[in-house]
Amino acid sequence: MARDMAQAAVTIVTPGLSTFLKSLKTTPVEPSIENFISLLKRRQIRNSRPCAIATTALLHRVVGEFKGRDAGKLIERIREVGRRLVSAQPHEVVVGNIVRRVLGLVREVVDDSKDSETNANSEIAQISQQEQSPSQSAHRPNLSSTISSFSPLKHAAAEPGQLHASRQSEATSESRELLKRPMLSHSYTSIAAGVPMSHSLFGLFSYQDTPSASNTPTGHHSPTGKGGALTSHNLEKLADFSKPNARVDLKAEVMDGIRELQDELEQSDEQIASNALDHIHSNEIILTHTASTSVQRFLLNAARKRKFTVVHAETHPHDHTATHGIVLTGRKRYNEEHDDDDEGSSWKPLIAAGIEVYVIPDSHVFAIMSRVNKVILATHTVLANGGLIAAAGAAMIARAAKEHQTPVVVISGMYKLSPLYPSDTDELIEYGDAGSVVPFEDGEFVDRVDVENPLYDYVPADLVSLYITNLGGHAPSYLYRIVADHYRQEDITL
């Protein structure tokens, strides 16, 4: 830390992602966590990608420093770090996503080693699972409150029942109300419990020995005897793993997994971009907004073979400078960081690739929309219900597109996909500095008028036509399924 500070003082670099990553190599874990927390709190690391990169790097280190072979303790440790990070900056949902992904990695390693053993107890586990479901449905309302005990946000977490596609639309808007209806919840939990929806169909049998993957969140916090028993069963199994096991090195496996995760973060833009030609045809007029590297790469990739026109809404007052930057030079950050991820030729603006770019103020979106063929949105976070949190103005763009029957395509790395269901979207919206709306020199105005500056918009799922992630294209209604593939139910409540 001290060295980092000294270094920062010498080169006059504001602390950010690059300084954090540098310092991470030399600083012990605990100060690093503290450092990251304060960077998050001061918003010196912000936006999804830097947060994801920093979180993965930090967790890599946390796992590396972890002593012992007890998987339960490792999970507890990661979880503990994760909680601190999430509560430091609950708006950066991606931090929680990464923590959950890493937790999932640990569990996967545990499961894999279990798989090789006999799965004699799998049937028992499934039976107990089915038995418990009615009693748990009664306790489900506890769920959201247990989350809020450590996080200021009160999202309803993804629940097995909600994962069911047919409930999708209801669950998104009125998940809380749904919880209060015993009849409904009873019926859908029993379905979910009968078929472990949270796992891929191919893994149907191999995963069955995971004790009640779909039910654990409630069981974990449930005061009832049955739920408690389940938890202890779970922990017991994890502890089992701590017994000397010659075949699997837990730590090494998890570290490998994290490295893969890092690779995924690095390659996600590229993978998304490789889909571009499937989605953009010649002479299209594409409207996009804010400054997003992912969208930029996507469009650049399409520009190799196709001619099209881009209309760029500048997202005043937060991102307009970055937008102009990306339009003119191809890069949005010009003060720091770029020396870390200098990819040379990839910093090419669209205009240099022969694409006509029109920059418009955000007020012009509706006026222009009648000529736009396709809207491509960048996102901050994608939610499990298919909605998304994106830079302010996105809601208007998406709705205007809907009114004009223009398809809305959302470009997002998988790491932005969160298992959270928005019960109250306002909580996910971060408010920015009012001074960027009305400069504080205009003191009289600021005194008298309540200036608000929301940084993000919530775009409901029904306004989105398609998600393009590094895994390909998905309908918004399918995202719940991908969530289930990427996150373990046990980890949804951190």
Partner: protein
Amino acid sequence: MSEPVAGNPVQASDTTNGASAPPPETGATNGSQTPSSAGAPAPGPEPKKLSAAELKKQKQAEKQARRAQAKAAGPPETNPREISAKESQKQVKDSKQASKDGKSKPTPPWRRPSQPTVPVFKDAKKEAKDSTQGKKLPGLFFGHLYTERREHSVTGATKGVHPAVLALGLQYSSYEICGSTARLVAMLLAFKPVIETYETPEGTSLARHFISHQLSPQIDYLRSCRPLSVGMSNAIRWLKDVIIKIDPATAEEDAKRDILSSIDDFIRDRVTVADKLIEEYGEKKIEDGDVILTYAASSIVEKTLIRAHKAGRSFSVIVVDSKPLFEGKRLARKLAYHGLSVKYFLITGASHAVKQASKVFLGAHAMMSNGRLYSRVGTAGVAMLAHAQSLPVIVLCESVKFTERVALDSIVGNELAPAEELLSESERKDMLPLKPYLPSGLLARLGAPEGEGDGEKRAEPGDVVKWIEGAENLQMLQVLYDVTPAEYIDIVVTEHGSLPPTSVPVVQFMSTDKK
């Protein structure tokens, strides 16, 4: 809405003209010059400070302007267009020789302070063509729109434009008078001195001569400053109608008095009293506890809100605003000054603002005959969001702003504004650090003489505009209005009462037919 005062705005924009806006060349000059320029003395001897050619053209224009004024000291007898075209052809030669000292020439004593440079007529269409040479067209979307560069000085004005109108034109182009009602009233008020100072030449009558020779140049000049608003066109049509109907036998003094008094009546009936009525109707739509959302600034919305506040209604206001005009700021300030509780959002936050609102009040630039609202760009987006939230969307609009025109989208008919207005000074400053990363070709093309090393220090906010203008394939777009579909609008409040948007053509028909 005050009567335009000649003075500062004139001076200010005149001085800035040289620096920011490209030289307002007269179309006539160019038309005649382009073919002859090969034979004419090349711009070589000119000092090559800016773009030599541009500088030269500007000087010529100014020079020519003076000459034109000097020659046309007498009453205008023929169409000024033709005159200036002919004259300028003659003057091209003269002005070239004398163009060097053009600027330093002392101001002739007969020139009024409000008239710092002398007008020469400017042919809009040719100008539009010329402007494409130096500047990119807003091609794809608004290529069909009038792309003439906005007049920011009186250099290009034709002779015979009244000083009051000259001043008004500058106030239009600098958005000092903004808002369709204000522009309408200001125009009518500026026409009054035009009428007062008019003297009918021998052998003709006021009714026959005034419109073509006195009124049209004024209107043309105003149009060159900013395209006429619907309200203004309606008023001009009405005024012409009044003048034509004057009995040629009427004594000139009486006729002028009649016109002046009917202008006053028009303003009273169609604006002042209409506003009062609309305020009254609008106020009734506000209930205790309401949160009224409005977009940008409308004088009638402002009056209605203040009136309701004074009537003791307890409600709060959300003003949604957008760059680059930030008209809503003034409205928010005024409302807050009157003690209303005001929230202020930019349009990016509109979806949040709409969530907090209970009703939406919108001003209008015009109501289209197919029930659509033509208003400040962004209005449609706000109305759409409000409609999606099932909020009542109420438009306040005087019937003078109803038009028989129809529109389906915001692209066919719109007013294009200079894109460089989009970047405020501070935004330009924020963009300066981009310089080292600009595509190498761009800076070379701009002919930036400085090397890469000291580039950043020497970059100036003004350069940013040049980058954008110089960058290939890149354009900024700015239009001023958009069209809100009728289905987003619940009520249109006019002085004839509250109507659904579908009734606009009926009211429009009634109010024009009455005469």
